[in-house]
Symmetry: C2
Subunit: 321 residues, 2 copies
């Protein structure tokens, strides 16, 4: 066993940057800038539930880290480093090399080196756990509970492509190679909006990343903040690839589609220029899609200002926060 897992370690043990103690002791060590706090998030990803068994391992390595970096982005935290747990049903060197490459490449882009981990064998499924650490000054973190009536609701990037790619790959939609080709990158290579999250500190009142679907995730902000919202469906930044899609499927993808890893955030109307400047600085697109209201609940309005009915399931399952 030891030799097998020495082999695994070969793909993951890179020299830790100065100041960080990496893989190879009981714990990894990292410093935190004076006056800042640590932000941390963890995800446990399982084959057959969070990814298809035949997914490109390089994309999987990328995405395993991306979904956690997206949580740091939603807090406005600057990445410090990460740890990885990997349970493998079998040893496949080519697979491991590709997974490690996808993981390390994204880590390098965001200055979030792998500093520790745990590799083991699993009986059945591949399991991946990633925990990320970032730094943010107290009071600067973008929380879920800061939305106020009158705030604009914004979303970064585009919506809907990942949901369509998932349903095509899952066989829920009939095969459509052109549509899959136009949407697959959104599902498999999400780009965590770390720079945008940092630029929104002091501008946004509340933020979350869209992982379970726009309505469900915005719902977490509404519940935590004790407010409601009106959204304007015609203003949503729909992925261009969805132009020819059946309108009901498009709506489900835009409002309910998960795996987006864009930021949904609120900011006072007086800060619209600041939001656009932050987005410009981060190289991101930001679209104003609605407004926070006092009254609880969430309505999505059509071009005539009428509430849409039959919203995607799940949007009203607000947790008690």
């Amino acid at each position: 066993m030891a030799s097998e897992f020495d082999l695994i370690a070969r793909y993951f043990n890179r020299a830790a940057p100065a100041g960080l103690l990496g893989v190879g002791d009981d714990c990894a060590l990292f410093p935190v800038p004076p006056g800042e706090q640590v932000a941390t998030s963890t995800d446990l990803l399982l084959e057959g539930r969070h990814f298809f068994p035949d997914v490109d391992p390089r994309a999987l390595g990328h995405k395993a880290l991306a979904v956690n970096l997206s949580d740091l982005a939603a807090m406005g935290a600057r990445p410090i480093g990460c740890v990885l747990g990997l349970a493998l049903p079998r040893l496949d060197e080519a697979w491991l090399a590709a997974f490690a490459e996808g993981f390390h490449d994204l880590a390098a882009v965001h200055g979030c080196p792998l500093i520790g981990g745990d590799t083991t064998r699993s009986a059945h499924d591949l399991a991946i756990s990633v925990t990320v650490f970032g730094a943010v000054a107290p009071g600067q973190a973008l929380r879920r509970n800061g939305a106020r009536p009158g705030d604009d609701v914004w979303v970064s990037g585009e919506l809907g492509a990942a949901d369509v790619a998932y349903r095509l790959l899952d066989g829920q939609y009939p095969a459509d190679p052109a549509l899959l080709s136009a949407t697959r990158e959104a599902l498999e290579w999400p780009r965590p909006q770390v720079a945008l999250g940092l630029a929104l500190r002091g501008v946004a009142h509340a933020a979350i990343d869209v992982s379970d679907g726009l309505l469900q995730d915005l719902g977490h902000i509404l519940a935590a903040s004790g407010v409601g919202a009106d959204l304007h469906y015609p203003q949503m930044p729909v992925a261009a690839a969805l132009a020819g899609l059946d309108p009901a499927r498009r709506r489900r993808a835009v409002l309910g589609g998960g795996d987006v890893y864009q930021l949904c955030f609120t900011a006072p109307a007086s800060r619209r220029e600041a939001v656009l400047a932050a987005a410009g600085e981060a190289g991101a697109r930001a679209t104003r899609i609605g407004r926070i209201r006092e009254r609880a609940g969430l309505d999505v309005l059509d071009a005539q200002g009428r509430p849409l009915d039959a919203l995607p399931a799940g949007f009203d399952h607000f947790p008690a926060a």
Copy 2:
């Protein structure tokens, strides 16, 4: 799905202590004392590999956290908090409640509250990932690479009981209810030596926790420090329950048995009183079992000073560090 996992969350969302932002935002937040670094360790535990499917869930919750606290102990870090990932093949409220109780009880003992997590369904096996965070001043951390020739080698607690319990439960040894009863607590309720690790800062030169077996784990210290060691088998603190065991099985349990979660550490001979004082302060037993030497390798000597042969497999699988 949402309601199911709201239910799960009920067992894990406890109010975070002041200064820590707990479960319920994109990230958890925690402060780090000025001048200290963060120590972190992660483990991924799988049903059928790291624990038996029918293990007492309260013991499993305890142990999932204990193995990570043991890594903090081996660094001399003070626990701050932890995050938990849990993938469940089915929803069993009684099981969840017991698991959460075992986890939270140990967290309370060590001031290591659960501040974040991720729960999901798995297709087959139960999977548990835990990441712990602690604080330690730079230069005070107990590393693996500090052992020097002439250092004493010490181990805390007792050795061997967990290995025997494991082999009894696994059917490798014939059923022996009295022996199982006397050894099972060591396997299922390990006590991480956090207080001892803290007390050994400034005293020990190097430390590791015994998770894979004494010889294998001491081997990591030797490899990282570029030294060797002579151990004295008759000095080993063997669990009393092993007194009647076949000598070969006892030796394998003492030298090669994993799941011990005691500390193996080295300290200069001039600090023997300080080591014993640290152990006394921590309420722990510390036993001197050998000495670090310049020449690489590891010998275990019998009462006549002759090297034992046929040491437990794995002890020479030193990683490249």
